[in-house]
């Protein structure tokens, strides 16, 4: 079993126009910047992207949006210090937005990976975001029914990866990555280091390889935050 690939371009080669793509990360932490840039180079458009945010500056997800590749964004928080790229397109009506409460977003993705087509949550009950969704009462409290969320692809960022696709993460860069790995038809992971099978302690595997289709090494991954402080622009 060898899920490792030699290059980022090969890793994203299968992603076509109109694909839905989950992209890991919370802000810049855990965002697979290099995979996103390879996706920009590869050229697919009309994408639906699922991410907690809408990118920052002119790198990573913001750059993908800036290149006009994203038709729809599903996220919880498209506001931040510098989400100008998204904001401009959104206010011009050029990108569709589905706002999902953050915990519901995480749970919908987890449900997609776990084969749970729908679940009930107290979050958003009685608010505008629950409009049109079924409501049910359990034990005297109201809950909103939410559907699973799946995608054609997931682009995620890990710390260690092995040929079986087992992954670890680095600190709070874990965030949505393990969930998205479960919920996509094809999960593509960039990792700081590929290690031989068996080198990740089975007790410390966070994402078991069954959820991962390909692993590519990016030895010195860039942080979105750092890039933006440097004023980086991609491409």
């Amino acid at each position: 079993m060898d899920k490792t690939l030699p290059s980022l371009s090969e890793a994203v080669a299968g992603i076509g126009d109109g694909s839905s793509i989950m992209i890991g990360g919370f802000g810049g932490s855990g965002a697979p910047i290099e995979l996103i840039h390879a996706l920009i180079d590869a050229g697919p458009k009309n994408l639906t992207v699922i991410n907690n945010n809408a990118g920052n500056g002119h790198v990573g997800l913001a750059a993908l949006i800036e290149q006009g590749r994203v038709a729809k964004l599903i996220c919880s928080f498209p506001r931040s210090a510098d989400p100008k790229v998204f904001t401009d397109l959104y206010l011009a009506g050029k990108i569709e937005l589905e706002i999902v409460p953050q915990g519901t977003l995480a749970e919908r993705i987890r449900a997609g990976g776990a084969g749970i087509p729908a679940f009930y949550t107290p979050s958003s009950y009685g608010t505008d975001l629950a409009e049109g969704k079924p409501v049910e009462e359990f034990d005297g409290k109201h809950y909103v029914r939410e559907r699973w969320l799946k995608a054609d692809f997931a682009l995620i960022k890990g710390e260690l990866g092995d040929p079986f696709g087992n992954l670890t993460y680095r600190m709070a860069a874990r965030n949505f990555n393990p969930l998205m790995a479960m919920a996509a038809g094809q999960t593509i992971a960039q990792v700081s280091k590929i290690v031989p099978a068996g080198e990740i302690d089975p007790e410390h595997v966070v994402t078991p390889g069954i959820f991962v289709d390909s692993v590519v090494q990016v030895a010195d991954p860039k942080q979105e935050e750092t890039l933006n402080r440097e004023g980086a622009v991609y491409p």
């Binding site: 919370f26 802000g27 810049g28 932490s29 855990g30 907690n52 919880s76 928080f77 498209p78 506001r79 931040s80 210090a81 989400p83 998204f86 904001t87 959104y90 206010l91 937005l97 706002i99 999902v100 409460p101 953050q102 915990g103 519901t104 977003l105 995480a106 749970e107 993705i109 987890r110 949550t121 107290p122 979050s123 958003s124 009950y125 009685g126 608010t127 505008d128 975001l129 109201h142 993460y169 680095r170 600190m171 709070a172 860069a173 874990r174 965030n175 949505f176 990555n177 393990p178 969930l179 966070v206 942080q223 979105e224 935050e225 750092t226």
Partner: protein, 228 residues
């Protein structure tokens, strides 16, 4: 009236200080992005509080020194943090299991409006722009207590404590206590109950800048906060 209030009202730091005094030793707490984050600064000595952040960290500590930031170690406000001994990392679904599953003792959030029935509006002014909700709609459900810290009135002088919210709701009947720049108010059975007020303001003047009836218990304590 509004001008007079400006001279006596608590600063944001003082509101945060007051809220910090009520967090018991050993509590698991989530502080909303921005203003509520300030509460951690005023944690009373001798109390150990475990802070949770939605993006998958339990037991984080102070901000690192400038230049020492690791951008993989941030809080929900995307600010760099450090870890205390006994910290743990976990993914977003586990993180919101802690929130939604009733495992947090307290969540403290900001507010545009709070209603006497406990409704909270804090995510959207309803005036267009880019909507963004983050974890607010999750945090208002599940935590054993949901408190709000806020100025007592808007910049224009309108009440933020109201009978019914006119702005888009974040959650229904979720808030149990409000710390304002003038008072500390509980929400009990669909009514405001005044616990503390600044000694410099009369009950009637406070009621006048509050958008719903302030009930009172046996006593109203003085809201006394040091310069911070």
């Amino acid at each position: 009236m509004s001008d007079a209030l400006d001279t006596i009202k608590l600063s944001n730091a003082q509101i945060a200080w007051r809220a910090a005094q009520d967090i018991e030793d050993g509590a698991y707490v989530n502080l909303g992005i921005g203003f509520p984050e300030m509460i951690a600064t005023f944690q009373p000595e001798g109390r150990e509080v475990i802070y949770h952040t939605e993006n998958g960290v339990l037991g984080f500590g102070k901000a690192p020194a400038k230049g020492e930031e690791d951008w993989d170690l941030i809080n929900a406000g995307k600010k760099a943090i450090t870890l205390n001994p006994g910290a743990a990392f976990f993914h977003h679904a586990d993180s919101f299991s802690m929130v939604r599953g009733g495992h947090l003792d307290l969540a403290v959030l900001g507010a545009y409006q709070v209603a006497e029935n406990g409704d909270l509006a804090n995510w959207s002014t309803g005036k267009g722009g880019v909507p963004a909700v983050g974890g607010a709609m999750d945090l208002v459900h599940g935590a054993k207590r949901v408190a709000v810290i806020t100025d007592h009135v808007t910049k224009k002088g309108d009440p933020k404590l109201v009978e019914r919210c006119t702005m888009p709701l974040t959650g229904v009947g979720c808030v149990t206590r409000v710390y304002t720049s003038l008072a500390v108010v509980d929400i009990v059975d669909g009514h405001y109950v005044l616990l503390e007020k600044l000694p410099q303001i009369s009950f009637d003047d406070l009621q006048a800048v509050t958008g719903a009836v302030l009930k009172t218990g046996e006593t109203i304590a003085d809201l006394v906060v040091p310069e911070v």
